[in-house]
């Protein structure tokens, strides 16, 4: 069984506007505005148009000892919001 992978839309499918304490993300395909935490744009950038496993995401952020459950919870929230696909 292969590991779960995640993918975000290509960078030009999103419009990202930092607003002090939060970040507004406009998803062009759905026309929906999402309000996310300041750490999310980097995650969307790493996942833009490419499938990555949680291992690969942690490696991209050099989080070898990172909190895997927090990352999975964040990814699950983004999947539920429609900003990330799970495959």
């Amino acid at each position: 069984m292969s590991a779960t992978r995640y993918r975000a839309p290509p960078a030009d499918a999103l419009v990202i506007a930092p607003l002090d304490e939060i970040v507004a993300v406009f998803h062009r395909a759905s026309g929906i505005t999402h309000l996310v935490g300041p750490e999310i744009p980097d995650l969307l950038d790493v996942l833009a148009a490419q499938w990555l496993t949680a291992d690969a995401i942690e490696a991209a952020f050099e989080q070898v000892e990172g909190d895997r459950s927090a990352l999975i919870a964040t990814l699950d929230e983004l999947v539920a919001a429609g900003l990330v696909e799970r495959g």
Binding site: V15, A17, L19, D20, E21, I22, A24, G31, L35
Partner: protein
């Protein structure tokens, strides 16, 4: 329709048709200093009788137009002017696509605009009207129009709908103003429309750059606190009737607005305090 009235308010042209003469006569008086509009309007409002005989028997006004709310309750004919004003608001709220529409008031000085938003009853209409007596041009009291391409605020200086105690306060502060008829016992209490001053009507085609975004609350000791861009964005999406419909144009206009302006929540006990707070933030 038997009786028709066309008027231009800032960038928007309305045509109001009525089954009765009285509301149109009142509109002609209230809008006597506005430019007339005889061509194709942006929005049409029709004041119709619920049934043909109701034009004469206990006449009640149904609001119709390009956009309607199906179960809106009719108003008695004595409140026909209010029905026309509500109909015009409804067309804007449901049909406006050229501008990002914010439920807010705005005043201008030196080409720079202050936008004041908040829930109904927060005092923004009254404050905007009273600031006219202190050198400000009234741009809007109900709908602030933000042009997505430029970020500029365009004037929409409709008559200001003042309610209950605010009516006498504004009459004292603006003794030369033109007023509509006093309508008692409306769903919101007593209502009277105040025509914006000469500066507002002369500048009805002149946009301004928004520089200050306020969330005012009347009736509390004077105080102010900064508001983050994120909080302002969320509150303005809730205060906009067409943010979702405008798609990316709305997103770009609103994120730009909240990023570019100074933002503050102000509490104020009276107009003097509010004016001082605004001058300090200006």
């Amino acid at each position: 329709m038997r009786h028709v009235f066309g008027v231009r308010v800032g960038p928007v042209a309305f045509r109001i048709g009525s089954a009765w003469r009285a509301p149109v006569e009142q509109l002609r008086t209230l809008y006597r200093d506005y430019p007339a509009h005889d061509g194709v309007p942006d929005f049409t409002v029709r004041l119709e009788a619920a049934r043909p005989w109701r034009r004469f028997v206990r006449p009640s006004v149904h609001i119709r137009g390009d956009f309607v709310i199906p179960d809106a309750a009719p108003l008695p004919l004595a409140q026909g002017l209010l029905a026309a004003e509500m109909g015009m608001n409804l067309q804007m709220a449901l049909g406006q696509r050229r501008f990002l529409l914010l439920h807010a008031a705005a005043v201008e000085r030196d080409g720079r605009a202050v936008i004041m938003t908040g829930e109904s009853g927060a005092g923004k209409s009254t404050l905007a009207a009273l600031l006219q007596a202190r050198g400000w041009r009234l741009m809007a009291d109900e709908f602030v129009l933000v042009e997505p391409a430029t970020g500029l605020v365009h004037p929409f200086p409709r008559p200001v709908s003042l309610k209950n105690a605010a009516i006498d306060v504004a009459r004292a502060a603006l003794p030369d103003a033109l007023w509509g008829p006093l309508m008692r016992d409306t769903p919101k209490g007593a209502i009277r429309h105040l025509v914006p001053g000469a500066a507002a009507l002369a500048g009805a085609e002149t946009p301004a750059e928004p520089v200050l975004l306020l969330f005012p609350r009347y009736g509390l000791p004077a105080e102010q606190r900064p508001v983050g861009a994120g909080e302002a964005f969320v509150r303005l999406t809730q205060a906009s009737t067409n943010y979702v419909g405008l798609g990316e144009r709305g997103f770009t206009a609103l994120t730009r607005l909240v990023t570019d302006v100074t933002r503050a929540a102000i509490d104020y006990p009276d107009t003097d305090s509010a004016a001082e707070l605004i001058e300090a933030l200006w």
